[in-house]
Amino acid sequence: MIAEAGLAALWLAASMALLQLIAGLTLLRDGAGQLVPLIKPAAYVQGALSTFAFFALMWLFYDTDLSVLLVANNSHIDKPLIFKLAGTWGNHEGSMLLWVAVLSVSGAAIAFFEKRIDTKTLYATLSVQGFIALGFFAFLLFASNPFERLLPAPIEGAGLNPLLQDVGLAFHPPTLYMGYVGLSVAFSFAVGALLTNQVGPAFARAMRPWVLAAWIFLTIGIAAGSYWAYYELGWGGWWFWDPVENASLMPWLAATALLHSASVLATRNALRAWTIMLALVAFAMSMAGTFLVRSGILTSVHAFAVDPERGAFILALMLMYTGLAFVIFALRIGTVKQGEPFQLVSREGGIVANNILLSVILAVVLIGTLYPLAAEAMGDKISVGPPYFNKATVPVMVLLMLALLIGPMLRWRRDELIRIRYWLIGAAAILLLGAIVAWQLAPDIGLFPLLGIAFSLALAVAAWLPLRGRKLLRTPLPVFGMVIAHFGIAVSVFGMAAESGFSSETLTALAPGENAKVAGWEVKLNDVNPIAGDNWVAVEGDMIAAKNGNQFALHPQSRHFFTPPMQTSEAALLTRWNGQLYAVIAQPDQEGDGRWQVRLWWKPFVTFIWYGALLIAFGGAISLFGRMFRRTKKPTRNRWQS
């Protein structure tokens, strides 16, 4: 009964989306129409119905109603409650329903809260939003119905992929989806503003909180995904350039660029066409991300849901939306007047450099991700892995760091490098000193980690300089947000460089009672014990790690799940302020001589990677809070000027 109600709600919500689209079209054709006043109410109703459908599905998972095909395929009566609930979106159909529900609620929120843009642009934006939602409702209803019944109902259910039975991962996909959906809202604003000739600061201010929110969610989602891969896969790495990871990185890169150019448009009324283009690209990337992950077209260490038909459906949606958007862009961009001019050496110039370098990285990642698909269509099987991505992106990232050392110090509109000469000399000195120290510590560190250390040190200083000479209590929150986010980048890059430059590893087989050494740590394997959880059994290593007289217990596990049958490694992590000791235990040596394979890493400052990412997201949150709070106050002019 609940399943049928959920399905009915989906159909009704789809009809609301259709109503929004038709009303918007009449508005654009005639400038008015009887349906036009219905656009806002339709957005509210659509949001409520989609939310209802999502919670209906969640109830079915909570109840473990095995007569619903999706529940039977992805849940199990023995599963812990949190994973039963997470099962709602831990599968293809449920995750697409979540996508649409968030999209619909965003549409309702725009309809309710947005007061900065004129009514016509708002209606056009809501219509575009309805149009996007319509495509995804069609996808749900015709190609991935989450409420399909199964007769006869099975007794216990198939279970959720054990790799996904992890609290962190339970909240990983929804976080990324929030980001993708936020970018779809930015896209709707961009197309709405293009259609009604309102590309200007007001549109940028309306769009900016959505981009900011999307970007915060993407940042958190990527960081969480990276940490998950780090401890759950047991391979010791934190970024594999896996297609699924790239699918979340590409929208992030586009959103980062968009965030900066939207700021220029909002405060300086420049980079108009540029910002619109980035909004379209950011949405195209989030659609591409959804397509890559959901179609199963890619080889991936953590790809789930494999179905070519659905892939074709999402591909068709992606091509339709982005194709139409680019056609509208081409037809209407002539009407967008050029914004305020600026000199190349200026804050705007720095942000253009940021945008271009991010776009270059995005293009390189996109090519590397799609090239194997193109090659396969030609009959070649190739794979493109970390060597390609590191080689092609890291040099551009170094340039980006260089731009970040200079750009935020420049004034808007026009400036001279000579004005900031003391900082330029200081930055060069920090870079040189950092490189020499890193090289002294580890002569074989490699060029990229060396540059990473040097630049992160310089950036850690540079990030705070925009606050110099300001009265801190009167500094707007977004400036603090920028400073914290840029400092977060320094922290994160430092962690990445230290981990890749200074990690040490020991791989050995130990019998109980034996020792292994890694980077000054002595790790003793006391014993190996069998243990059992709710739906798994495991062998657990009982280890003691000792250094400088301090002793710590480590308990790495190798787990075996029953439904479905599969094994996972649970790495044991010992976190110190200056790094992590990472221990993995494998299944017993099959020779039967009583030894266990053990892999140990000492990873200096590896945690900084994720602390930095949290700082970046926190900076974004402060900025977002400042933007939403500031609306009630009188805007101050030239807020950015120091």
Partner: protein, 149 residues
């Protein structure tokens, strides 16, 4: 820079940057993309030692030999016609067993041994390494339904 040319200049910079990105990507791809081989295609191809490639096939029954250090193994990957010896040092992936499919990343060393840096075995229930999907899985002794831990 004259104000009215600003948009043109920016557009040109963007085009140059994107062409640059394409060139960077093309040159890195030429050097770093690794091709996929089965033992049969590897035998036919003239692959330089040291070039990064991937090798996929079935782990031959009875071919896994473990080294005295407990962490080195050698095994033989086979397809219907040929086989290739593989050496690997590390923790073998979950579900890496004789008779199952495997994809190895690595390179040939002189003596026609393939040294693997990483092994990808059948990862979960519903996932077969994509390169192996085209190979006749009926040659596998273990399939999804019969795989025993």
């Amino acid at each position: 820079m004259k104000p009215k040319h600003q948009r043109l200049v920016l557009a040109l910079i963007a085009v140059v940057a994107l062409v640059g990105a394409g060139l960077i990507a093309a040159s890195a791809l030429r050097e770093e993309a690794s091709y996929f081989y089965t033992p049969t295609t590897l035998a036919a191809a003239n692959v330089a030692p040291g070039k990064a490639i991937r090798l996929g096939g079935m782990v031959q029954e009875g071919s896994i030999v473990r080294g005295a250090d407990g962490v080195s193994i050698t095994f033989i990957v086979q397809d219907q016609e040929r086989s290739q010896k593989v050496a690997y040092r590390g923790i073998t992936p979950d579900l890496f067993v004789e008779g199952s499919g495997v994809v190895a990343d690595g390179r040939l060393v002189p003596g026609r041994v393939f040294v693997a840096d990483s092994l990808l075995a059948k990862h979960d229930e519903n996932y077969v390494p994509k390169e192996l999907a085209d190979i006749d899985m009926s040659a596998a002794a273990h399939t999804k339904d019969t795989l025993v831990p």
